[in-house]
C-alpha cells in the first residue's frame, strides 16, 4: 500500500492548477486547515478529499466541518444523537410576499423555499460549500468556466420525476434571464447569462461565465437562495405553493399563506435513512414576541431567527439552546461623497472616528456581532485580511480632521433611514456620537418602502440594511463601484473599480486576500460608507432538539434534525 505522501502525489496529478495551488498554500502554511477545507470545497474537492490532503500535509489545526456523533441514535451535525420519528414546530417570520422561487427576497420566503427545494451546493454556517445536487465541481484555469457533476438517482418529492442535468440547466437559465426579472439576477448579472449554461450528457452542467469568477460555486449555492433546482418542465409563472415540488427531504401536506406550511417526510428522498423526523410545521408569525413566548412555553420547538433586542429573554434562559451563526449581514451608513458636507474624506473619516463600535455592538446587539472596519470585508470572510488595523473611536483625531476639512465649527445634515430592527436606535447613537464633533444630525426615520423608493440613493446620509452573503462580491460591487446600482454614497474611484475587478477574478485565496488588503486600506482611507458591525444570525431551540442547521443567510435545514434520543 502506498504511503500518504505517494497517494497525495497521485491525487495532485489529477487535480487542476487551482486545486494544486491551494494544496501548495496549505503546505507552505499560508492558509490554515480550516481555510483549506473551505477553499477546497469551493473549487470542488470533496470533504473526504480535503480532509485526506489536510492530514497528508500534516497540518492539523482546527477547522473540520461540523463533527458528527453516532452515540445511541442517529448522527446529527453538531454532535448529539437523535431518535427517528416525531414532528416539531418551527417558527418563522411571515414571508413578505408570494412564495415564488423567482421573486422571493426575504427570510420567511427563502426558509420556506429551502425545505422542499435544494441547491446545487449548500453554503454552511462556516461558509464552506457542501455538495448537494452537484456532487462535485471544478473550474478551468482562470475560473471562467465551471463544470458541475450532477448527482444521479435523485427523485423529486412527487415520487416519480427523476432529476436530470436538463433540470439544472433550465433552472439556471430561468434565474439568469433578465426577462424574468428574478431576484437572483442581483448575483448573476454580469456573471452568468442563459446562453452560458449547457448540459453535457445527462450528468454534467457547464457554466461559461461572462468574466472569470473565483466564487461562482457560491452563486449557485444556498446563498443565492432563489435558485432551487426544479424540473425543466416547471412553469415559473405558475404557483409554486400548489405543488412545492423539489428534490428535498420534505413534501408539503398543507400550505396557507397566512399561517404556514406543514411538511411531511418525502418517501422518495435520495439520502438513505433521512430525514429523521416524520415531518414539521413551519409556522408564520408577523412578529417576534409571540415566537419567543411560544418557545418559552414549549409550543414552538425552534425559532428560525430572532434579534438580540426582542430575544433578550432567550439569551438569559438556560433551558434554551441559542445558535449564534457568524454572518456578513450588516448596516451601511453611507455618506454622499459627491456633495457637501461629505465631499471631503476628512469629514467622513471624522464621523467614522466618532463612533464607539464596541459600545454599539454590546448595546444594540447584545455583543452578538463582529466589529466592522468600514469595508465589506467582514471578519467572517476568510478572504478578509485581518492585519489591517481596526478603526477605533478617537474624538481628538476626529476634531482635528474636522478642522482640516474646513468644518471646525461643525454643520447640520439629515440622516435618512427606516424604522426596522435596531436601525432607529443606531441612528440615534450615531447622532449622539457626531454631536461630539459638532455635527448636528437631524433624523428622518421613514417606513421601509418610503426610504428605499425616495431617499436611499438620494440622501446626504443614510442607513441601509444588507443581508448575509457567503462571499463579499455583491457588497464590493453594488454599493461601491462607480457603476454600482446601489451606490448610495455616489462613490467613484477608478482605482477601487480596478481592484474589485482583480478581486472577483482571483481564484485562489492568497491572491484574493492580497487584493482584499488593498481594498480594505483604500476604503478605510476614503470612508464612503461606515460599516459599524456585522451581526450574528441568531436562532434558538429547545434543548431536546438536535441537528438543526442554520446559515447566516437565514436558511434552516432539518434533514438531520430530530428529537434527542
Amino acid at each position: 500500500m502506498k504511503d500518504p505522501q505517494e497517494q497525495l502525489d497521485d491525487i495532485r496529478r489529477q487535480r487542476s492548477d487551482v486545486e494544486n495551488h491551494l494544496i501548495d498554500e496549505l503546505r507552505a502554511g499560508k492558509i490554515s486547515r480550516r481555510e483549506f477545507m473551505r477553499r477546497g470545497t469551493v473549487v470542488g474537492m470533496s470533504f473526504s478529499l480535503v480532509a485526506f490532503i489536510a492530514a497528508a500535509c500534516g497540518n492539523n489545526n482546527s477547522g473540520a466541518p461540523s463533527p458528527t456523533a453516532t452515540v445511541g441514535g442517529s448522527p446529527t451535525p453538531g454532535g448529539g444523537s437523535v431518535k427517528a420519528g416525531g414532528t416539531i414546530t418551527v417558527s418563522e417570520i411571515s414571508p413578505a410576499g408570494a412564495v415564488n422561487p423567482l421573486t422571493v427576497a426575504d427570510e420567511g420566503g427563502l426558509a420556506t423555499l429551502g425545505q422542499a427545494g435544494q441547491y446545487l451546493t449548500w453554503s454552511n454556517d462556516k461558509l464552506q460549500l457542501e455538495p448537494v445536487i452537484a456532487e462535485s465541481w471544478s473550474p478551468n484555469t482562470d475560473g471562467s468556466v465551471w463544470t458541475f457533476k450532477i448527482r444521479q438517482g435523485v427523485t423529486y418529492n412527487d415520487g416519480s420525476t427523476q432529476l436530470t442535468a436538463d433540470d439544472v440547466v433550465a433552472t439556471l437559465k430561468a434565474h439568469s434571464d433578465p426577462a424574468n426579472k428574478g431576484n437572483a439576477l442581483s448575483a448573476f448579472t454580469g456573471v452568468l447569462e442563459p446562453d452560458g449554461v449547457a448540459a453535457q450528457g445527462s450528468d454534467t452542467v457547464v457554466c461559461t461565465l461572462k468574466a472569470p469568477n473565483g466564487s461562482f460555486p457560491y452563486l449557485v449555492s444556498s446563498d443565492n437562495y432563489n435558485v432551487i433546482i426544479l424540473p425543466a418542465s416547471y412553469d415559473y409563472g405558475g404557483d409554486y405553493t400548489k405543488s412545492f415540488i423539489g428534490t428535498g427531504p420534505w413534501k408539503m401536506s398543507n400550505f396557507n399563506s397566512q399561517t404556514g406550511v406543514t411538511y411531511v417526510k418525502s418517501p422518495s428522498y435520495w439520502q438513505q435513512g433521512l430525514p429523521y423526523l416524520d415531518g414539521f410545521s413551519l409556522k408564520y408569525f408577523a412578529d417576534q414576541q409571540p415566537q419567543v413566548l411560544g418557545l418559552q412555553q414549549g409550543s414552538i420547538d425552534v425559532i428560525a431567527q430572532f434579534s438580540a433586542a426582542t430575544g433578550q429573554a432567550l439569551l438569559n434562559d438556560s433551558a434554551i439552546t441559542v445558535y449564534a451563526t457568524k454572518s456578513s449581514a450588516h448596516r451601511q451608513v453611507h455618506m454622499r461623497t459627491d456633495q457637501a458636507p461629505f465631499d471631503k474624506k476628512e469629514i467622513r473619516q471624522a464621523l467614522a472616528l466618532s463612533l464607539n463600535r464596541p459600545d454599539l455592538v454590546s448595546g444594540l446587539m447584545n455583543g452578538k456581532a463582529d466589529l466592522g472596519n468600514d469595508s465589506p470585508f467582514a471578519p467572517a470572510f476568510p478572504q478578509t485580511d485581518t492585519s489591517v488595523p481596526q478603526r477605533a473611536q478617537n474624538i481628538s483625531q476626529a476634531q482635528q480632521l474636522m478642522s482640516q476639512g474646513g468644518a471646525a465649527n461643525g454643520f447640520n445634515v439629515t440622516l435618512y433611514t427606516w424604522n426596522g430592527y435596531e436601525i432607529p436606535q443606531l441612528a440615534q447613537l450615531i447622532q449622539q456620537a457626531a454631536a461630539q464633533i459638532k455635527i448636528t444630525i437631524k433624523l428622518q426615520v421613514q417606513d421601509a418602502n418610503t426610504y428605499y423608493s425616495k431617499y436611499w440613493l438620494n440622501s446626504p446620509m443614510g442607513i441601509t440594511d444588507y443581508g448575509h452573503r457567503g462571499v463579499p462580491n455583491v457588497f464590493l460591487a453594488a454599493p461601491l463601484l462607480s457603476t454600482g446600482t446601489w451606490n448610495a454614497a455616489h462613490y467613484k474611484n477608478p482605482a477601487y473599480d480596478t481592484l474589485v475587478g482583480q478581486y472577483v477574478a482571483a481564484v485562489d485565496l492568497d491572491a484574493q486576500r492580497a487584493v482584499a488588503k488593498q481594498i480594505e486600506t483604500m476604503l478605510l482611507d476614503d470612508t464612503p460608507i461606515v460599516f459599524p458591525y456585522f451581526y450574528n444570525h441568531m436562532s434558538a431551540s429547545k434543548p431536546t432538539i438536535a441537528g438543526a442547521e442554520f446559515t447566516g443567510m437565514g436558511h434552516i435545514r432539518l434533514t438531520k434534525a430530530g428529537l434527542t434520543a
Binding site: 410576499g97 412555553q297 421601509a448 418602502n449 423608493s453 436611499w456
Partner: protein, 317 residues
C-alpha cells in the same frame, strides 16, 4: 318603525360611500408606489414604472378609485400585491376568525360588565362600588398588549394552562378552539369591562334616581321587580350604544392582540398588509371593518328604538 329603518339604512349607505372615498384616498396618500411594493426595494426603476403601467397604478386617482369601487360592487376585491392571491381568499377566513374571537370575548364581557355596573350602582359609594370602578378603570388604562403579555407569561408560559397562540390547529373541535381563544378573550375583557360597567352604572344611577322608579318603589313593588322592569330597561340604553361601538372594535380593531397571539384575524391582516403596503388588502380590511361598525350601529339603533318608543315614533324632543 319602517320609516325609521329606511332612514337609518340610507344614512348607512351614505356613510359607506364616504368611507370608501376616505379609505381609498387615504391609503393612496401614503408614500411608496405599487410597482415598488411588488418588485421590492432593489428593483430597477424602469421595471417598477413598467409594472405600474401594467397595473394601472399610473392612471389618475379618480379613475383608479372607480375601478376599485366598481370591482367591490361586483364582489371583486382585487388581488393581493404581496401574496398574489385574491383579496377575498385572505379577507373572509380572517373575518371569520375575528368573529369567533369577538364572539367569545363578547359573551364573557357583556354580561360581566353589565352585572358589574348593576352591582356598582346598587351599592353606590360603598366599598363594592369603589372596588369595581377602580378595577375597571385601571384595566382600561393598561394597553391590551401589556395585559396580553402578562396573561401569556402567567397562564401560558408559567402555569401552562393555555396555549400562547390563539390559532388552533386546522380541524380542531369547537372546544379546542375555545381553549385557544380564551386567553386573548380575557385580555379583551380587561379592556372592555371598565367601559361597560361604568356606562351601565351611570345609566342605572340615573334611572334609580328617576321619578318613575320612586313611584314604582312607593307603590310597593319589590326591589327586584323595580330594577328589572323599570330601572334596567331605561338604564341599559346607553350601554347598548357602547356595546355596539365596541363590537366594531372587537371584530376589526384587535391589531395588537391578534399580532401578539399570532391569530389570523382582520387585525392581523391589517397589520401585515400595512407593513407590506399591500393596498388592495388594506383597503378591503378597512372597508370591512367600516361595514362591521355600520352594521353594529344600525343593530344598536334598532334595539335602542325597540326599547325606547320615543325614537321609534320619531316624537322625541
Amino acid at each position: 318603525m319602517g320609516r325609521f329603518l329606511l332612514r337609518r339604512l340610507g344614512l348607512a349607505i351614505l356613510t359607506l360611500i364616504l368611507l370608501s372615498l376616505i379609505v381609498f384616498f387615504g391609503t393612496h396618500v401614503l408614500p411608496g408606489d405599487v410597482g415598488r411594493v411588488i418588485l421590492g426595494p432593489f428593483a430597477d426603476a424602469r421595471a417598477v414604472a413598467e409594472l405600474d403601467k401594467q397595473l394601472g397604478a399610473d392612471k389618475p386617482l379618480i379613475v383608479q378609485y372607480w375601478t376599485w369601487v366598481s370591482g367591490v360592487f361586483r364582489g371583486d376585491l382585487g388581488t393581493s400585491l404581496a401574496f398574489q392571491q385574491s383579496v377575498s381568499s385572505l379577507l373572509f377566513p380572517a373575518l371569520l376568525n375575528s368573529l369567533k374571537l369577538a364572539l367569545v370575548a363578547f359573551v364573557i364581557v357583556v354580561p360581566l360588565g353589565i352585572l358589574g355596573g348593576i352591582v356598582s350602582a346598587l351599592n353606590r359609594d360603598r366599598f363594592t362600588d369603589r372596588a369595581i370602578t377602580i378595577t375597571g378603570l385601571s384595566s382600561v388604562a393598561v394597553p391590551e398588549f401589556v395585559t396580553g403579555i402578562v396573561l401569556i407569561v402567567i397562564f401560558a408560559v408559567n402555569l401552562n394552562w393555555f396555549p400562547v397562540t390563539a390559532q388552533a390547529p386546522p380541524g380542531s373541535s369547537l372546544l379546542t378552539q375555545l381553549h385557544y381563544l380564551l386567553l386573548p378573550a380575557i385580555a379583551l375583557v380587561f379592556v372592555l369591562f371598565g367601559y361597560i360597567a361604568r356606562i351601565t352604572r351611570a345609566g342605572m344611577i340615573e334611572a334609580l334616581d328617576a321619578d318613575y322608579t320612586r313611584t314604582a318603589t312607593l307603590k310597593g313593588l319589590p326591589q327586584r321587580t323595580v330594577v328589572r322592569r323599570h330601572v334596567l330597561r331605561n338604564a341599559l340604553l346607553p350601554t347598548i350604544a357602547v356595546v355596539a361601538t365596541q363590537t366594531g372594535y372587537l371584530i376589526g380593531g384587535l391589531v395588537a392582540i391578534e399580532v401578539l397571539f399570532n391569530y389570523q384575524g382582520i387585525g392581523h391582516l391589517l397589520f401585515i398588509s400595512a407593513q407590506k403596503k399591500d393596498l388592495p388588502v388594506l383597503e378591503a380590511c378597512v372597508l370591512v371593518v367600516g361595514v362591521v361598525y355600520l352594521i353594529a350601529t344600525v343593530i344598536a339603533d334598532v334595539i335602542y328604538s325597540l326599547l325606547n318608543p320615543r325614537i321609534r315614533y320619531g316624537t322625541a324632543e
